[in-house]
Symmetry: C2
Subunit: 153 residues, 2 copies
DNA sequence: CAATCCATGCGACTCAGTTGCAACTGCTGC
DNA sequence: GCAGCAGTTGCAACTGAGTCGCATGGATTG
C-alpha cells in the first residue's frame, strides 16, 4: 500500500451538497459524494472510477453508484456517454458555455484510444450538418472522435 | 411453430463466398453464412440477429458468430457500431458510395429509439467540423443520430 | 420525537463478450 | 485422392457491466 493524497473530490463536497439541495430531492451521503466526484473530474467517469475514488472515505455500494449516476442524469445534472468498451461514463453538464448544446441533445466527446479517457468537446461545439432519409426524425446527435489525447501522443 | 419464409440471406451466399475467396483466407461455412447475412441486411445486425437468422439452415455457435464478425471487420469487409444498449452491431462496408468515408474512419449512423434499428448514413455523409484541444490527434469520427425512423414516427 | 417514504445495501441474476482447449476441417503438397 | 498441418470451430466456463427484488435504514414532515 502506498500513501495516497487526500482525494480531490473532497473539496467539492459543499458544492455538490448545494446542487443536490437545489433539486429539492433528498440529500443523501452517496448523492453528495458521487456528485462531488464528477465535479472533481474534468473527464468522464465510469461507475468504477467513481467507486474507486470514493472507496477510502465514502465507500458506497456499486449498485448505489449506478443508481445515483442515473439519478443525476435524470436531474439534468450530468449526462451519460457510451464508449467503445460498453461502459457508461458520466460527466457533469457544463453550466454556461454549452448549456445550449446539452439542451439541444447535441454532445461531442473525444475518447483516447490509448488511455481510454473520455473528454468533453462541448466547449468547442463542432458543427454538424446531417441529411436524413425521408421520414426520419432526429432527436439527439452524438459525436464521438477517437484518437490520441495530448498526454498519449 | 409457424411456417417461415426462406431466409433472405440464402440468395447472398454466392456473393459472400466470392468475397471471402477474394480475401485469400480460408473459406468456411460460418464465414460464408455470416457474411451472407450482413449482405442481406440493410441495417446493422447484432450477433444475435445474425445467429437467429442462421439458426434454421446454418446453425452456428454464438462464439463463432462473434469471431467471424470480428474477422470480417479485420478484413475490412464490415465495420462495427457501438449502440446505446452496449451491443455491437455490424454492417457491410458500402462499396462505391462512401468507401472514402469508411477509409477516412468517418461513420454516421442513425439509431431509432423505438425499434432499436440502426441505419447507415454514410451515403449522405454528414459534414462535421471539429476543433480539438491542443495536442489532440483525431483518427476516427463517429456520428450517432438518435430519433425515430420512418417506420416508427 | 414518531411516522412515513424513499434511498441504500446486499444477493442473486441477466446478458454481451472473451478465453482455453479439444476436436474438426479447409487447404497444400505429394 | 490422400496425409498432414495449421487455422477454425464448438463447447464450457468465465468476466464484467448493469439490473432487480427485498429487507434495512436514514432523511424529511408533522
Amino acid at each position: 500500500m502506498h500513501l495516497r493524497m487526500k482525494p480531490a473530490y473532497l473539496s467539492h463536497l459543499p458544492a455538490a451538497e448545494a446542487a443536490i439541495r437545489a433539486t429539492g430531492e433528498r440529500l443523501t451521503q452517496p448523492r453528495v459524494a458521487v456528485l462531488a466526484c464528477l465535479l472533481a473530474s474534468e473527464r468522464a467517469s465510469s461507475h468504477l472510477d467513481v467507486a474507486a475514488m470514493l472507496a477510502d472515505h465514502h465507500a458506497v455500494d456499486r449498485v448505489t453508484v449506478y443508481r445515483v449516476l442515473e439519478w443525476l442524469v435524470n436531474q439534468g445534472i450530468s449526462h451519460r456517454i457510451a464508449g467503445d468498451d460498453r461502459v457508461w461514463r458520466f460527466m457533469i453538464n457544463p453550466q454556461q458555455t454549452s448549456a445550449k448544446a446539452v439542451a439541444h441533445g447535441h454532445h461531442a466527446h473525444f475518447v483516447c484510444e490509448a488511455c481510454r479517457q473520455t473528454f468533453c468537446l462541448d466547449e468547442t461545439l463542432p458543427k454538424v450538418d446531417v441529411k436524413l432519409p425521408k421520414g426520419f426524425r432526429p432527436s439527439e446527435i452524438d459525436l464521438l472522435v477517437r484518437g490520441r489525447c495530448a498526454d498519449c501522443v
